[in-house]
């Protein structure tokens, strides 16, 4: 168990042509479950590789329990990695793959053949690959291989787990179950875990702290609740939450926000104070989550916006409705039985308290005293 600290990590590839990581700093507390959330190519895997010691950082430091391990060999770091590409040993059976970390010379005296077999079977059963122990990796499906890769990390009790999109290639139902299992294992063992994923829901449901990474930069870090409630910029606001937050370009007119001629929104006191001194010609981005909006009859007095209902995506209990108004598209999420018909004129109501404001130029959040 260990605390992991990353300080100002930089990494370039191809002689500087690709800047994979730009000054990354993170901290994961001892026993914490840390999620690194970001789109493909954001730098998640690179971060994992630098942490594991597979690749060397150009600059910056990695601390494990306040000990600098930046230059330490991977084997001495005692971190278990589940690779996104699986990296199974092709000539070894599933059983031999899972036992491989336990056979390391570092753990020579810790395991007897019996306890080893016991542990391998236990992990295999946990991951639902107990029947596949004598198969070779090439005889497995993608999802099965991924579970072996995960099992090879979980089989031992390292200082920390580094899991690189470990359940991305499982089918939806299994992924859901594995998510629960992973959280449970981690809570039970209390082993520090760093987990990367492109799936915001996975990150929100698993992490106790998380960071959003994009283009090799950390956009925001904090607890899932903090990141969801107070996204630091437009990227985080749209990346976290599904469907993505609606972003409307508005202008400050007196103490109101104007969206062309479609809408005039009276600002609440905290927002007004936050925007005092904001240049009036500069647009303000207004963010509102689809789930924070309600439909009203078109002529209802509380309707802040009027629009025409377009595409409706039914997700079971809830539906996502795309509304359009004068070239503007807004999505909102509501109970399926409340969904309008296609082409219907509707009104939209929402509360100013649920809104997020962003600077149009820097894309950063305009903080209020409530933040």
């Amino acid at each position: 168990m260990a605390k992991i600290t990353i300080q100002n990590l930089c990494k370039q590839y191809k002689n500087g042509e690709v800047q994979a990581l730009k000054d990354i700093s993170l901290e994961c507390r001892d026993g914490g479950f840390f999620c690194l959330l970001g789109p493909a190519g954001a730098g998640k895997t690179t971060t994992i590789k630098l942490l594991a010691g597979i690749e060397a950082a150009d600059s910056g430091r990695i601390l494990l329990d306040d000990v600098d391990i930046t230059d330490q060999m991977p084997m001495h770091r005692d971190l278990a990695v589940a690779f996104e590409t699986y990296a199974l040993y092709p000539q070894r059976t599933v059983r031999q793959n899972l036992a491989f970390p336990l056979q390391s010379p570092l753990r020579k005296n810790e395991w007897t053949p019996e306890t080893m077999e016991q542990r391998v079977v236990e992990i295999a059963n946990l991951l639902g690959i107990g029947e596949l122990l004598d198969r070779l990796p090439r005889q497995l499906s993608g999802g099965q291989r991924q579970r072996v890769a995960l099992g090879r990390a979980l089989v031992r009790k390292p200082k920390a787990y580094l899991l690189d999109e470990p359940i991305a290639h499982l089918d939806a139902k299994l992924r859901h179950r594995m998510r629960g299992e992973l959280k449970r294992i981690q809570m039970e063992l209390g082993i520090t875990t760093i987990y990367t994923t492109p799936d915001q829901l996975e990150a929100l449901s698993l992490a106790d702290t998380m960071a959003v990474i994009n283009n090799g930069r950390i956009e925001q870090s904090g607890t899932p609740a903090e990141i969801y409630r107070r996204p630091a910029n437009v990227f985080v606001a749209r990346f976290v939450g599904d469907p993505p937050m609606n972003i409307l370009t508005t202008h400050l007119v007196g103490d109101e926000l104007a969206l062309n001629s479609l809408m005039r929104l009276k600002l609440s006191e905290p927002f007004r104070r936050a925007l005092s001194g904001y240049p009036p010609e500069k647009p303000v981005l207004l963010g509102i989550r689809p789930k924070d909006m309600r439909l009203t009859p078109p002529d209802a007095p509380q309707a802040k916006l009027h629009a025409e209902s377009g595409h409706i995506q039914v997700l079971g209990e809830t539906s996502v409705v795309t509304l359009s108004s004068d070239g503007l598209e807004i999505r909102l999420k509501l109970a399926t039985q409340q969904a309008p018909r296609r082409g219907e004129r509707v009104g939209v109501d929402f509360s100013i308290e649920d809104c997020h404001l962003f600077d149009a130029h820097s894309q950063n959040r305009i903080a209020t005293e409530n933040d």
Binding site: I54, M73, F83, T85, Y86, Q91, S104
Partner: protein, 293 residues
Amino acid sequence: MNAETTQETIVLDARQRRILLGRRLMRWLYYLLTALIVMLFLFPWLWVFSLGFKTRSEILSPTIVWIWKPTLVNFYEVLIAKGYWRLIINSLIVAVSTVTLCIVIGVPTAYAFSRFPIPGKESWFYMILTFRMAPAVVLALPLYILFARAKLLGTYFAPILAHCTFTLPFVIWLMRSFFDDIPKEIDAAAMTDGYSRAGAFFHAILPLVKSGIVAVALFSIIFSWNEFLYGLILTSDATRPVASQIPSLIRPHGTLWGEVCALATTASLPVAFLIFALQRQLVRGLSFGAVKG
């Protein structure tokens, strides 16, 4: 079974029968062609082998002597009387030592070339390939001078070291292409699983290139077995490999054809057996991944 076949014949019309016949004909043609090619490879060897059992006049007869009384004189003369069976042992000693040495030190080097950021890597690599391409004559003279000074002439070390000049580059070159085909994540996985770089190499990577090593080793043995000039210049009669001694059977009054053939075919058998024993590994090794340059 019987009912089925009769049913089948009833169903077939003339056109289908023609197609079936054509297909059968094609298959026979294919087998015939394959057999022909195999004979093309096999026949000259068998022919040389048969010459070993012929007398000089039978060999030099203007028409091929198809039926003759086989004689073992040539085999006896060259292998026992001249004692050239020892040369086959010499060839084995030289080839096996060379290839073992080159595999043991060449495979880790190839791995280093594949994985580590060696400064000026590609230039070094070209240089190594240059050594492979240099004709034996080019290095034979300086090696002769050098070995003479080191008093290595006439020992097994001389031909073994000389054969390393073309074997080691070959091993490094081909093994590197095998390693390049293995994802680096496998090394990374082993290292995070608690193994050193060397541990990862031995436990995770080497098992993957086992057949590749066999294939490269077999080819290297063939090249070493066939090498002629180094053995001629750098050895004494006691340590000379068999290929280098064959020209001694070309005598001013006429080549001892029967003995050449007897010696050559006998000498090719050990390697043929080796290839036969390891053919599965050879094919697997050669087709492993894509053997890239």
